[in-house]
Point group: C2
């Protein structure tokens, strides 16, 4: 195979009480990487589209190219390289796993071009390293962006993950107020220690959340999206978050929290109609705070990075 | 029904990273409550056997009678009461849910005598209140003692739990060194705050542990029994714990940690032969520290409180 076109989806990480450990892939939005084999070592990034000129073309600084390079190194490829073109399909610093989608697309492109039957899971470590370039060492965006579905990161050292089977249809309303939050900035806002009582609440809820996915039970999933530790701190970076969440609850969501490190807010529901109403209600709540906001209705997708 | 004889099993709570949220019932060891309807209000405790005279006969101070009383109040029973006899089948302050087993047996006895088709789950709140009398407000012993199997406590206010389906056969080796630890004492040893990095590790592992149960995958269960927050603190109360755990690992256990608040140590394995070898290895480790120890091989039981 000499050239490939790969799509990798946006994702919601830090799902409720699953800070740094739980994420899921979204349907319909994501990044596209076009890649071709070239002679000469390493990865070159030729174009980035739709980023408003904000992302670096330096291949050492973009997650797509870093991930592709990591895969080449893992596969021991020498004397050949990759030329990449990246088409951003989701906004930067939105909390929707933009850098993770690029990393997953870049890694999978390299695997398709040079891999010899290796499966996707073998590219995860490369994606995690690449994500570290952009927004610190975390895997709960790149793992679902690469693999699809709901992914739990059990451990970082060594990297160990579990793909959580989930087949119920759950809609995801995403509302992004018109501000940007860098993941690093959102991390700096976090406390270094948390109360023991909060540990008990969050471990109970994260275990219940995973149970809800295994049971295909949207009600359990919804009530377990209850994070008493990270959300209360990070919501301060998102003007109008509390009002938007309240609006989502009143509009009938199952559960609502910050997507990744924000500022996007996600809410789950069981019908498309409710999902749309939630989006409208949340957008109005942000508007009432003088903040523009865009909304998307998506769903949890079983599919991760894939050929187009 | 005028009299009943109820058995409720011992249990392992605080399973690995599941501090205060995850417990499972054990096979073959537990407490027995004999109960009969009597005229006159309230619950009387006539005898306690096999406790070495250490437990109070005051019905307001024993978890079996408090739980039974709570059930009577919940059912709105007036003018009739219960006479209870309690036969302890497991050691006090061992970490094996002794007070929880008594509470579950007492509550279920009352439900059998006066309930009108109510199911066991409705007695859980009564058990939790009773457990509060003995060892503080926690539900991860009483819930499996009453309901059997693996139970996750999602939330305490309101009380909300999930029965985790699990059908693989896993052996549980329990070794109790000859010391006693009161649950209150073990709680006082805990820090009031824990590091954020530890939160991430424990939420990842507790979610993986529950996943392992859903997947009926002993290997995942074993590696997820990895608690970086509570075990390192509480092991200081158990001389020889580290050596015993190391011995269990060398003898081939899947995972090993403190049972409840200790001093008992539990280790999981996939065969009875390994389970026995683990018991011998752990006992030797304690003996080498000058501490006698008793061992039991049990398994995770699907059954909770039941008529005999």
């Amino acid at each position: 195979m000499d050239d490939v076109k790969i799509f990798a989806p946006a994702s919601v990480a830090n799902v409720g009480p699953g800070f740094d450990v739980l994420g899921f892939a979204l349907e319909g939005i994501g990044d596209i990487v076009k890649a071709r084999r070239v002679t000469g070592k390493g990865v070159r990034l030729t174009h980035i589209h739709n980023d408003g000129g904000r992302l670096p073309l330096d291949p050492a600084k973009n997650t797509a190219s870093v991930a592709a390079q990591q895969v080449l190194e893992k596969l021991g490829i020498r004397g050949e390289g990759i030329e990449l073109e990246l088409e951003k399909g989701l906004p930067l610093n939105s909390g929707l796993g933009s850098s993770g989608a690029s990393a997953a697309a870049g890694a999978y492109a390299a695997l398709k071009l040079f891999g010899n039957g290796q499966n996707k899971e073998e590219a995860l470590e490369a994606c995690v390293k690449a994500e570290g370039v952009a927004s610190g060492f975390h895997a709960d965006n790149v793992a679902p962006a690469l693999l699809g579905g709901v992914v739990l990161i059990r451990s970082y050292t060594p990297l160990d993950f579990i793909r959580i089977p989930f087949s119920a249809s759950v809609y995801v309303t995403l509302v992004k107020p018109d501000i940007e939050i860098r993941t690093r900035q959102a991390r700096e806002a976090l406390p270094r220690k948390v109360p023991l009582a909060g540990l008990v609440k969050n471990t109970g809820n994260v275990a219940a959340l995973v149970s809800g996915f295994f049971l295909n039970d949207p009600a359990t999933i919804g009530k377990a999206i209850d994070d008493c530790l990270i959300e209360p701190v990070r919501q301060k970076l998102i003007p109008g978050f509390r009002e938007a969440k309240q609006a989502a609850i009143e509009a009938g969501c199952l559960g609502c929290s910050i997507a990744g490190s924000g500022p996007s807010v996600f809410a789950l529901s069981e019908s498309k109609k409710t999902a749309k109403a939630i989006g409208e209600a949340m957008r109005s709540a942000f508007t009432a705070k003088g903040l523009g906001a865009t909304k998307i209705v998506s769903c949890i997708s079983s599919f991760g990075a894939r050929s187009m």
